[in-house]
Symmetry: C2
Subunit: 216 residues, 2 copies
DNA sequence: TCGGACGTCAAACAAACGTTTGAATGAGGA
DNA sequence: TCCTCATTCAAACGTTTGTTTGACGTCCGA
């Protein structure tokens, strides 16, 4: 087994176990045992558990967000500058959801982990998010702002917040949908999830701005 | 210090630290030190760390969901059976968000914790959710179904899933909104959050049902 | 054939964890 | 006053954690 194979297997197994049990509840011993490598290999190849976590994310998030920007670039070129809301949503959601359909890629485990991580309050994660998502936030909020010219900026930010939340919840809480539907909806049908998500969020983004009540 | 005071303080501090760092990352030693009580007090009053976690939830979730059902009862009585979508949403969201505005209640920490817990895959949590939310899901999905008679059940379930997701994300990921808006939206303004959430989700629930493409 | 990277391995490290124990404390009733 | 019972306390239990160590094997260039 080469060194590349070893570190690759550690990353794959770590991704899966982190997704299933969380970071703190997953020990290096569980990872190395499942991967069939020596315990010390983690520190040899990555330096620490924290660094391993970072690597697990960096390996996936870079390509994911690059793909998002790529799709947005193309959509903007085709639309002559301002694609419609649903096209923008497709650019944002599809890279996260479509990759599910290729289970061999391992993206499935990662996306579940990814959904969980929005909530992780730890400092390290926070910084990585700012770094990895800065460009995506800038580009997509600009695109949505152009597609929704009548929507005040403050409202757009709130709605983008919900737009992210609906996706994160779908990724990280599939059992929630099973519970709600009594098992009659399949959260693993990601094409359906994408359709439903876009239909829902598109309408939410386009909702009329209500006159603000005077708070008593 | 009475026994009631001791277990109360343990619950309060546990709620806060769980919300900040997660269950696994919060040790009983950190809780008891912060609460100013002896380490063994947790096992004396609760039996185990797991039982403490359960108590933290039971203390809040019961009243929260009772309040939701109470509001829905009243709304249905006033509307003569079928309140509109936004009224139903208000019944569902307000008990979770409005309690924030009374910071002395400690609900704030709990709701952050609560948002996180949707994602926790642990068995114990899963069971509690089914028990605590069974009635709420039944009543609210029935009410929404009556308010949206043209929406197929399968679509309603997906949309309720997103409706929960938007809320959970708002509760658990306030830093997300700050990041998105560059600090210009205040996630702790819960009246505003409630308004924005209802405006967004109402439109999402009412979105037209798209003709399903034939998948190639 | 030698020698030095490189990677793997079992073993051990200190620290932190949840949990248990048995003595000490203090208020209330007989 | 004495006994009782609920509560608190410091100390220790055995595990598990992330991390480190030094020996061992293996491959490649000289």
């Amino acid at each position: 087994m080469t060194a590349k194979e070893t570190s690759q297997r550690i990353l794959d197994v770590a991704e899966q176990l982190f997704a299933e049990h969380g970071f703190d509840a997953t020990s290096l011993r569980a990872i190395t045992k499942e991967a069939g490598v020596n315990l010390a290999a983690v520190h040899y190849h990555f330096g620490s558990k924290e660094a391993l976590v970072e690597q697990v994310f960096a390996r996936r998030l870079g390509p994911l967000n690059r793909r998002r920007l790529e799709l947005l670039d193309r959509a903007e070129a085709e639309a002559g500058g301002t694609p419609c809301v649903e096209t923008i949503l497709e650019c944002f959601y599809a890279p996260a959801l479509r990759t599910f359909t290729r289970p061999e890629s391992g993206h499935g485990h990662f996306m579940r982990l990814f959904g969980r991580t929005f909530t992780e309050p730890n400092e390290q994660m926070r910084n990585m998010f700012v770094e990895q998502f800065g460009e995506v936030v800038r580009r997509f909020s600009a695109a949505l702002s152009r597609a929704l010219p009548h929507l005040p900026a403050e409202h757009l930010w709130w709605r983008m917040h919900f737009m992210v939340g609906a996706m994160a919840h779908s990724l990280s809480c599939p059992h929630g949908l099973r519970f709600l539907s009594g098992g009659r909806c399949d959260p693993d049908n990601h094409e359906e999830a994408l359709r439903q998500l876009i239909a829902f969020v598109r309408a939410g983004l386009r909702a009329p701005v209500l006159a603000r009540q005077v708070t008593s």
